[in-house]
Structures are given as C-alpha cells and as structure tokens.
Amino acid sequence: MSSTFNHLSDEALVIECKKDQQYFAELVERYVPKLTHYIRRRSAATSDDIDDLLQNIFIKVYRNINEYDTRLLFSSWIYRIAHNEMIDWYRREKRRATLSFDDDAHDIMSKLFTEEDHITRFSNEEQKAAMVQLLNKLDDKYKEILLLRFFEEKSYEEIADILRIPPGTVAVRINRAKKQLQKKLPKHGTN
C-alpha cells in the first residue's frame, strides 16, 4: 500500500482521508511502527496493551480528524494524542512512566551525550541496565522530553507542540535532565 501513496505527505493524506478511508489506512500503516516504538520505550506495556493503546489512539485520530490544523505537523498532533493516551493508561493501570530500551547501551549513551560531555561509554548489558535505571529515576517530565528529543528525534518546536509547552521550556528541561544524568554518571578517568 505504501508505494501507492509514497508521494503524499501526512498532511495531504489527512485532507484526502476525509473523502476516502483508504488514505486513513495509509496513515495508520505509516504510524503504527513509530507509535509502537514510542509506547514500548515509554512503558513496560505488554503486546496486548500496546495493541489496545494503538487502537484507542487511532480511534481518537479518526474521530477528531477535523480538529487537525494543517499548520502543525501531523506527526506532532498524533504524538500529542498518543502522549495523552499514555497518561490515561498510566492512570488506569496506576503505574508510573517507566522507560525501556531495546537499543544497546552504547546507542543510548551516544544519543544523549557527545564526546565533549566526557562521559564514559557503557558497553555491556549490566551497565546498560544501570543507565536505564538512572534514566528512570528522573522526573516524568524529564524522561518524556529526553525520549522525544533523543529517541523519537523530534525538534524543539515539535516537542513544544506535543507537550503543549513553550519551546524555551523544552530547551530548559532538556538541559536540566542532561545535567541531572551527568551528575550521576562516571566521567572519563573516574571509572
């Protein structure tokens, strides 16, 4: 299906899907893998939970498709819906946001820090677990923002639209989160 609609942007698909559900199917197809990764990284949800969450997200997207403002990126809008759905899910399940990563430890470190940060790179599974534990000790607002910036690779503007906060606040929170992590991580020569 993808190749038929490859030339169309998400925003164009939204306009077309109001007339033909085929286009909505393409949107679903495009975003299922991205949102599955996002949900998996943000929670310790089971596959069944993920399926339910995805279903709820896309039902909301379809029901509120006329609310979408084409001046915003569609991806920001759908991530906003996913973000809210996750919060509802935490509430229903009485859980706290828990990050989990399939990526290896080196990937997590290289995404969060540059060479200039002088942080010792982790390589084995044990160290990766320690790193994930450190990330999970951060406040929920910091966890979420690091996930969106470094793992979902969203721009500051997109994060601002997803979390509904000013872009300046996004920058401040990313800095604070990284500083909090840096304090807890071993520096070159100290490990």
């Binding site: 399926d51 995805l54 896309f58 029901r63 509120n64 498709i65 006329n66 000013p166």
Partner: protein, 154 residues
C-alpha cells in the same frame, strides 16, 4: 492494492465495528468559541478595572493632602487596591484561557500576561475616556471616604 499489516487491519476493523465517524468541523469551532467568549469577557472586565484604577488615582480627593507628595508611599496609598486585585484576577483567568487556545501554549506566562495587560490597558483607557461620568457615580461612592490605611497615612 498492496496488503496492509494485521495491526492496521485490526484498527480499521475496530473503527468500523464501533461505527466511529469523524466529528463535524462545527463541533470544534463551537468548542473553540467556548474558550474565546470567556476570554473576551475577562479582557473587557480587565479593561473596566483599569478604567477604575485610572479613575481612582486621578480623582483621589485626599492625594493633594499628602505630606510628601513625591514620596512613593503617597502614590501607593492612592492606588485603588480593590480594582488592582480584581484586575489581577481577571488577567489570571485570561492567561489560563489563552494557554488553552490555539498555539497559546507556545508562549510563556510573561508574554501572555503582557498581551492580556496591554489589551486591558487599551480597553481601560477607552472605557475611562468614554464613560467617565458613569464611573463618577459608581466609583466615587467608594473613593469618597479614605480607607483606614489611607487615613493612617494622610
């Protein structure tokens, strides 16, 4: 047509089974206007309180009696506290409404406060200029008599 993934299939079937249909555009337009209407009302009320503040300061009958008129306390004592408090309240409501409006979240509280105050000041000056006589009747009753704080000072 190329095949779709089982997850997509499941989602589309769920939408069909639950008979989900897109909400009409007017529903969202109405919802937005529900936010706009109180926003406009609180801004206008904020403007009205600004007119009250201007009136309170310019028509303060005991300000010339102040022992040291240049002293900042003389001005502070002349500020109509009740109007200022009301203005603060209306501005806070306007800011919280602006935050919920389209892209309002992109601006800091300070930016929204400045916009809200600027609108209220413009409306307030207009109000003051246009309704000075009516303000005379409404405000003078309160300002004819100094408050305990003002009496202590003057």
């Amino acid at each position: 047509m190329e095949p779709i993934s089982p997850t997509t299939e499941k989602i589309l079937t769920a939408i069909e089974q639950k008979q989900v249909t897109p909400r009409p555009k007017w529903y969202f337009a109405l919802r937005n206007s529900i936010l706009w209407i109180p926003g406009v009302i609180t801004t206008v009320l904020g403007g009205y309180t600004i007119a009250g503040i201007i009136y309170g300061i310019l028509h303060n009958p005991w300000l010339p009696l102040a022992p040291q008129q240049s002293h900042p306390m003389a001005f502070a004592a002349a500020v109509p506290v009740l109007w200022v408090v009301s203005f603060g309240l209306f501005s806070a409501i306007t800011i919280s409404l602006l935050r919920k409006m389209h892209r309002g979240y992109r601006h800091t509280a300070l930016q929204l406060l400045l916009v809200s105050v600027a609108c209220s000041v413009i409306i307030g000056i207009l109000f003051y200029a246009l309704t000075q006589d009516s303000l005379d009747n409404q405000v003078n009753t309160y300002y004819r008599y100094p408050t305990q704080h003002q009496r202590d000072y003057f």
